[in-house]
């Protein structure tokens, strides 16, 4: 007795059709969510960010050095022209391109270590901060402040020293922490000026094979000590839109560029995985789309069968939205149940690969992205269903 109109309108509802739809959409949604979760896990930026399996891919490119041409100062240019940089930026696989700025002055570094004084000629470069894989504190420099210049060096250099130089020379091996505490002194000279500045190694990069200083320092130092115009960049760092993109590789080969810091193998595997994940997600999407059409057809059939009742109710003064509301509730409840079931499947499935992934050092990502994807798809489907119902009910008006 509670709702007579509802008793009228639920006539002809086919439980079979709704269950059929729910199952189909469940399969589609479960596939999509599981694939999204899997991709996210592999892409996880939790553990050290760029050490994840599918990381953002960066390539450092330079021109191939041929013969002694450059050395003799008469060969082709080893630096990149503005046009060449613009061309790389315009490539579809390049998300952004950063330039290495080299120091156009002389640098000597001296360090007192274990009672011995080491001194060496050095080079410095700077690149925009956003390309760093490490984010050291105090990565900034104010000229004239007297604070030490923060320096990031390649992890390879430390490895080279620890396991190459120090081991063979009986020098002590040092950890990253110890290196950070060693005071460095840099002698900057050029353009008839000379100055000592303090420096400190604040981080080690596995991406950048250079000795990097903040751009603010480089700008000041180049302005103060550089003789003549600044050289154009001879190395570029390119962030790829997609790890291991074959287009990028072909382009580099075609233009004779050399790629350093190349994670070719992991890049390829990552590329392959992302393609596979995309295919799986697409399959899930197709299943969900078909399910959506099943439900839409089923709704049309139901509303067609109940057309007289719907019409008569509206003749009595029921508004189309009052009539449609009952069908909205069915659709929304079904879709919500499907979403919950699919999320449960996704969470259960991800449990199964958590352990193996942890053994290769990948921390699982939060399931939030996958859940939000599911919510978005469910909302989209529900809105589509509601639009169809509303249209069909209004069509029964006269």
């Amino acid at each position: 007795m509670a709702n007579i109109a509802w008793r009228l309108l639920r006539r002809n509802i086919s439980a079979g059709q709704i269950i059929g739809y729910a199952l189909a959409n469940f399969v589609g949604l479960a596939i999509i969510l599981t694939a999204v979760k899997f991709y996210n896990d592999l892409n996880s930026t939790y553990s050290g960010g760029n050490d994840s399996f599918i990381s953002r891919d960066y390539s450092i490119i330079s021109k191939r050095v041929t013969g002694l041409g450059d050395f003799l100062g008469q060969g082709e240019n080893a630096d990149f022209s503005t046009a060449e940089i613009a061309d790389i930026e315009a490539q579809p696989w390049a998300r952004r391109v950063g330039q290495f700025t080299a120091a156009a002055f002389n640098v000597y570094a001296s360090v007192d270590m274990a009672g011995r004084s080491l001194s060496t000629a050095l080079f410095l470069e700077s690149i925009p901060t956003e390309y760093f894989d490490v984010s050291p504190r105090d990565w900034d420099y104010t000229p004239g402040s007297g604070e030490p210049v923060p320096v990031v060096i390649s992890k390879d250099y430390l490895t080279l020293y620890n396991f190459g130089f120090a081991a063979s020379r009986g020098m002590p091996q040092v950890s990253e922490e110890v290196i950070g505490m060693i005071p460095l002194r840099l002698s900057l000279s050029g353009a008839g000026r000379q100055q000592w500045v303090n420096a400190r190694i604040v981080g080690f990069s596995s991406r950048l094979n250079t000795i990097a200083v903040p751009e603010s320092f480089m700008t000041w130092a180049n302005a103060t000590f550089a003789d003549g115009p600044l050289p154009r960049p001879s190395r570029l760092i390119v962030e790829l839109t997609r790890p291991g993109d074959p287009g990028a590789k072909a382009y580099m080969e075609q233009h004779g560029y050399e790629v350093a810091g190349d994670k070719v193998d992991s890049g390829r595997a990552a590329y392959f995985l992302s393609v596979v994940t995309t295919v799986v997600i697409a399959i899930g999407a197709v299943i969900s789309l078909l399910a959506f059409f099943i439900l839409t057809l089923s709704i049309y059939l139901l509303l067609q069968k109940n057309r007289d009742k719907i019409h008569d109710l509206m003749q009595l003064g029921y508004s189309p939205s009052m009539v449609a509301r009952y069908y909205y509730i069915i659709v929304a409840a079904t879709n919500a149940a499907v979403l919950v079931a699919a999320v449960i499947v996704m969470l259960t499935a991800s449990r199964m690969w958590d352990k193996p992934l942890e053994t290769i050092g990948v921390t699982p990502a939060s399931p939030m992205t996958a859940i939000l994807t599911g919510v978005a798809i469910t909302l989209l489907i529900t809105l589509g269903n509601i639009a169809a119902i509303s249209r069909k009910v209004k069509a029964s008006w006269r």
Binding site: M1, A5, L8, L316, S319, W397
Partner: protein, 221 residues
Amino acid sequence: MNRIDTITLDKALPRVFAGSEKEPPVRDSQVWLGHVEFDRPGRYLVEARSGAGKSSLCAFIYGSRNDYEGHILINGADISSFSIAQWTRLRCRSLAYLPQEMRLFPELTAMENILVKNRLTDFKTAAEITAMLDRLGIADKAGVEAGKLSVGQQQRVAIVRALCQPMDFLLIDEPVSHLDARNNSTVAALIDEETTRQRAAIIATSVGNNIDIKNFTVLHL
């Protein structure tokens, strides 16, 4: 919207009669192609032979059909411009309609058929509805599915249902076609009382079996 005071037909003609304006029944009609005003709280009886468009007239005014030429105005506003929301409001608050074919839901009981209308405005209490059924001699049928009632009983259920709302105009299409003289009088008295109380107008149609209400303005369709 305020109460409906006038319903005007201005050169209205069912589209099915287009082209036969010079022939009966259109030629002799006092309604089609004329200018007719129904005022509240008047009482109008539209008499016609079968096939002259009585049911069409009611359906046009109620907004359930729009296959006519000319204009129909409610309080001066052309009803062809009314939105679905406006019609819904009118059907809940201003226009009561008893279609000739009654349109009861056969799977619902007599009482449920009435309640499905009454719950829109909660206009009548359950006791009032039972009293009306009782007066029409079908209180014992309240729990019976409408599909199992005789046509005369269905007609009385449909009349009670039509009265379960606030109204300015009551459109009753052949309200007593299946009732005997005694039931005709009871129905007429009930309708008379309800419309008088609500100061509502009546537009009734008939092919000859006229509802037993006095002081009708008779129009020949």
